[in-house]
Symmetry: C2
Subunit: 328 residues, 2 copies
């Protein structure tokens, strides 16, 4: 995945900056407890697509005077670090054993270290935002973290409920993925001192691409093997989470009632989770989800029309296309 | 405790502000998930001494033009909220069942909710700081949160090690308690636009009082019952943490070697924890700790000499005296 990604045009435009990212983050952690640093860097070193920092840097290039500054790098680091923090705490919450093909922080270092490492990285992301010295950005960013926690909480409470509405699904996807991408792109515009319309355009781009991206994630959870995914596949349904594929199956499948009953009884009988997955796969839901993701990518790219035609803008379009064509 | 506290002069000076604090925090959480809000307010509703917000508000009154503004309230809320966040995550880390005489968030709502509630409150504290619109304060505050996590991590790694140095103990106490108090007081001075010496004086006051306060906490862990403490007493030694009473016993007691051996073998035999506690109590360590706490309170109050003689300054002195005279 990583090497394929690195050949993409959108990546090449910011690759010098990006190749520095991990090294800079690591170097600036030198003074902290070695175990904390090791746990903090564990996931980042496992790879990851770095889509969020790429989006920040390309957004910076695509607006204002077309250059990126140290502050854009701070923002790029903040979003990647916050993303890592949420993954570490999510892996506690879901009791996940693997992520990016490696043991999770929780699995490797235990609960105490994973709680503290997530907290540390959350604070670290706010720290980098503070260095940008735009007070508004501190408010937007911390507000976003609260919204992310709130969304995650609502999602947990909807486990094993088959009655989730489409709007609730969208809210979930928004707080899980779209908000951070939206604010990464918007933040880059704020740093660039871009006009309000540019700021709004980049927010919408990040937001809609984020939704498309999460829909693809939810599809891949049904279609890809554990090893390709780098984590447990079929996990959403096992955890009782109704994502878009299941949601469509609940609308369209001739076996919708059976699926609903299976979810509500928490797949507690033998072979029931497999049966639930089969109903989703047979329902045609995945094709509808792909269409939905495509619609959001189109909306994301349409939002960019207000920006000047630059290589960075083209790269953002390429990135959006890439995000829904990825196979894991 | 609370009513006794409320009769104190230092409390009366800011009590109108303080009685509002919880109500304002709660009101502004209205739009969030009800379980998240309930879990977030659980500890705050259980009481707590509100020493940190009192310190912030009195510090604001004691410097600059002698008045407190909305921004001081934001800071007061931020420090109390961050304190709550750290308690919630600490109770996960220590697997504690009770706090302030109530079940912990972890015990009552489980791991998932307590992880998310702590994260939410951490972000909430940064959010209130951001509303103050002083970029420097955002940096200081997030840096402090990182230092607190780092200190907690180091402390965890020193469990069951009898070789901790006095400097390491101080580092622990600093990151656990003193830093937040120091930055609460310093932050109030920053908001007031106070002179650099006033800012430094209030930082030192909060810092040294914080150390005294934590030393008292470490004494009380040895002397007070579970019900008076509102949580499990004798917990530090059970958890393998060498706090100041144990540290002095390891220096002074004729049974120091035995105590060292017990700590290193993790009190794994019957009656060994009781024996360890007895060695500490018999060693005279508690009196030395009280003297140490007294010295820090004196240093804290001496730092205030540079401030104008106001009722608020006197109240800060009273607060410092109160903090080491408390019995739980």
């Amino acid at each position: 995945m990583k090497s394929m990604l690195h050949q993409q045009s959108f990546f090449r435009l910011v690759s010098p900056e990006l190749s520095e990212l991990e090294a800079v983050i690591l170097r600036e952690l030198e003074k902290y407890d070695p175990t904390l640093v090791e746990a903090a860097m564990h996931l980042m070193k496992a790879g990851g697509k770095r889509l969020r920092p790429v989006m920040v840097l390309l957004s910076g290039l695509a607006c204002g005077d077309g250059s990126v500054s140290l502050n854009h790098h701070y923002l790029a680091m903040a979003v990647e670090i916050l993303h890592t923090a949420t993954l570490i705490h999510d892996d506690i919450i879901d009791a996940s054993a693997t992520r990016r093909g490696r043991p999770t922080v929780n699995h490797k270092w235990g609960l105490r270290t994973s709680v503290l490492t997530g907290d540390f990285l959350l604070a670290r992301s706010c720290y980098y935002i503070s260095l940008i010295e735009k007070t508004r950005l501190n408010t937007i960013f911390s507000q976003m973290v609260m919204d992310m926690c709130n969304g995650e909480m609502s999602q947990l409470e909807r486990r094993y409920r088959a009655t989730i509405s489409y709007e609730q699904y969208l809210d979930q996807v928004r707080s899980k993925t779209a908000l951070l991408m939206a604010i990464g792109c918007q933040g880059a515009a704020i740093i660039s001192g871009a006009a309000a319309e540019q700021e709004q355009a980049l927010y919408t781009y990040g937001h809609d691409l984020g939704i498309a991206f999460q829909i693809m994630d939810d599809i891949l959870d049904f279609t890809v093997s554990d090893s390709e995914l780098g984590k447990s596949a079929r996990n959403d349904l096992v955890q009782g989470q109704v994502t878009l594929p299941t949601w469509y199956a609940l609308q369209d499948s001739p076996h919708a009632d059976e699926l609903r009953a299976l979810i509500e009884k928490r797949f507690d009988g033998e072979g029931e989770i497999e049966r639930g997955i089969q109903i989703v796969l047979d329902s045609g839901a995945l094709a509808r989800c792909e269409q939905e993701a495509r619609n959001y990518v189109n909306k994301a790219c349409a939002a960019l029309q207000g920006l000047a035609e630059t290589p960075a803008r083209s790269a953002l379009v390429d990135l959006a296309e890439f995000a829904i064509q990825r196979k894991h």
